[in-house]
Symmetry: C2
Subunit: 375 residues, 2 copies
């Protein structure tokens, strides 16, 4: 893909009282990272956390930017992949930060996708009970989702993201140029989360995406605008409910099914997060139709758009071994959004009309999963 140099700088504020911050979106922003960091904490130092893949592509440019702004910095490189979100890697990173004698006002910078952001943010949240933190997301998924909102965490044998903290960054820097080196599969997977914002509460944005998906995938201003719209949507939800006491759960549209699918396939397996979420969203729409909440044509429209951009939308499209209804239900029940044993799901009354459904009976879901595998 090519990125148009005329992409303007877009700024999306995240309003969280004394934890408010800005998301900067545009082309060429990585080169400005040093100056922005120096402005944030004059005299401060930085530790850049990144993974092996991203380090090869973008670390030299970031370190050069920090050096030219006279921000003393070192890099900490973790293995690429979901397995890095572990207690062992967290402890290793925390030790590196303490060995470098970084102080509270010094900054941990996450340069990478969701794995790097979640791990680095968690470390920033717990070293000295909270250090400064900056996100420079390098995947579309991280740019529109995980880098915004302050959720950090690691995985355990019991499931994904079951351990972590809320820790807001000082700013998020989204350089759209970085997506030029992203494999097409991952660009597509991240796009699933972009679609999600339309499906939650913005039917106009969903319609815009149906009309403009090719332009978005081509890069340039349409891509930057899609990212900004997604960040604005997420910032709005997060500002209203930072710690997920209520409507923030809407952001989980497609995620309870999606997480179960990811776990069933095996992390790092045949289904990346966004792909699983795409199927999960389509399933949430079909279940909503089955329960009489959602017009059938809306569920079809969602499926059609996901398929149009090359995403999966069907449970029958995942490996057969990962489709066992009983196993999927058990995995859904371990999701952290469970309260008092009852399943909470995000359902919908149509495109842009999602809602939180508490107490969805397990046998209803079991029957639905049976239907889905026989589709």
């Amino acid at each position: 893909m090519t990125v148009d140099d005329t992409t303007p700088l877009l700024t999306v504020p995240v309003s969280l009282g004394d934890r408010s911050y800005d998301i900067f979106i545009g082309s060429g922003l990585l080169a400005e990272a040093g100056e922005r960091l120096a402005g944030l904490a004059p005299g401060g130092r930085a530790m850049v956390v990144t993974d092996e893949t991203v380090a090869e592509r973008h670390l030299p440019a970031l370190m050069a930017a920090l050096e030219s702004a006279k921000v003393p910095a070192e890099a900490f490189v973790v293995p690429a992949g979901e397995a890095t979100k572990s207690f062992a890697e967290l402890e290793r990173l925390v030790d590196a930060v303490l060995t470098a004698r970084l102080e509270r006002g010094d900054t941990i910078v996450a340069l990478g996708g969701g794995v790097v952001g979640d791990l680095a943010g968690f470390a920033a949240g717990i070293v000295r009970r909270g250090m400064a933190f900056v996100q420079i997301p390098t995947t579309l998924l991280a740019q529109v989702d995980s880098s915004v909102g302050g959720k950090t965490g690691i995985n355990t044998a019991h499931g994904k993201n079951l351990v972590g903290v809320f820790h807001q960054p000082q700013f998020v820097l989204i350089d759209t140029d970085l997506l030029a080196t992203l494999p097409p599969r991952h660009l597509k997977a991240g796009y699933a989360e972009v679609v999600k914002y339309g499906l939650i509460d913005d039917p106009v944005f969903f319609g815009w995406l149906e009309a403009n998906a090719p332009a978005v995938f081509a890069g340039g201003p349409a891509l930057a605008e899609a990212i900004a719209a997604s960040c604005r949507a997420k910032a709005r939800v997060v500002a209203a409910d930072e710690r997920e006491a209520g409507n923030r759960a809407l952001l989980n549209l497609g995620h309870t099914f999606g997480h179960a699918l990811e776990a069933a396939v095996g992390y790092g397996g045949d289904l990346v997060h966004g792909e699983a979420v795409a199927i999960g969203m389509a399933m949430a729409f079909r279940l909503s139709t089955l329960l009489g909440f959602c017009p059938a044509e809306d569920a079809v429209r969602v499926e059609r758009h996901l398929h149009a951009v090359g995403l999966l939308a069907d449970l029958t499209e995942v490996p057969a071994t990962a489709r066992d209804p009983a196993r999927l239900l058990a995995l859904m029940a371990q999701d952290k959004k469970v309260q008092r044993g009852a399943l909470t799901l995000i359902l919908t009354r149509g495109i842009g009309r999602s809602f939180i459904a508490h107490d969805v009976a397990a046998d209803v879901i079991a029957d639905f999963l049976e239907d889905e595998t026989a589709r």
Copy 2:
């Protein structure tokens, strides 16, 4: 010691907006723990975290109280001692909580001293990004200090409490009866933190302690009143500055010297925390006198009271191997209250007139430490 049955129930509110909670202080409160917990989270479950020593003394009573209030609970017992505040024990506890499938609204209960409270609170702060948490401190030190204010954490090879989160409990239950089984040495060490509140900003309380120390050590209403006064003092400071951006640092009076002494002696060694803090407070007063801030007679009065109750107040009273000035200074510099390389210390203009001194020159401290070892 004996505890008077007529000790009234004292309630100290901690005002922290939507994280506000109460501290209940009195005799026989452990028996009420189940009812209070059931009232907090109807239908919820609990995991009690305690250490081997406390488990033997008080765990059966707490489990019985939970059972009679129909709160399903299990216990997780850690080894006693500072070494338990480690990544390894944290991971083990987190795994136990997830294995028990506790949900966000279920409660982790810390039954023990500072080690148990810090570890259990940290786990409560990170499992599912924050679970309900209750403190039942069993040492005087924990009752007047570590159980109040939401600081949690573990130690690393780099120092104490360098990793953790702020996580406020739903309530703190201080049963003064539990102190009856506390070894006198630990009661005395905890008393150092009681004295601290007088020294920070309450000369009347310090005078009251000088007059009433024997009654406090005898237990009964004077002990409960000293605990309540300490909790009120700490609650006031924490409410004004939850995350230690400013005056909360006053609570570190005696602690920068104290932490260095503890580290020099070796944790679990010849100096327990309160004992080290007592020496550290006396040192802070002497340094303040040396620098012309504090009348010499106030420093002498502090020393005299600490000695009167059997606490140490002199650097020459610690093992010779732990007195090396250069090593102590290096240990102080690794303290997490260091900012931009300059040392921040709590100094004082007299009893009840402590203040935060930024930019204390390292060579001034080095000279002072030399003087102290030659006293």
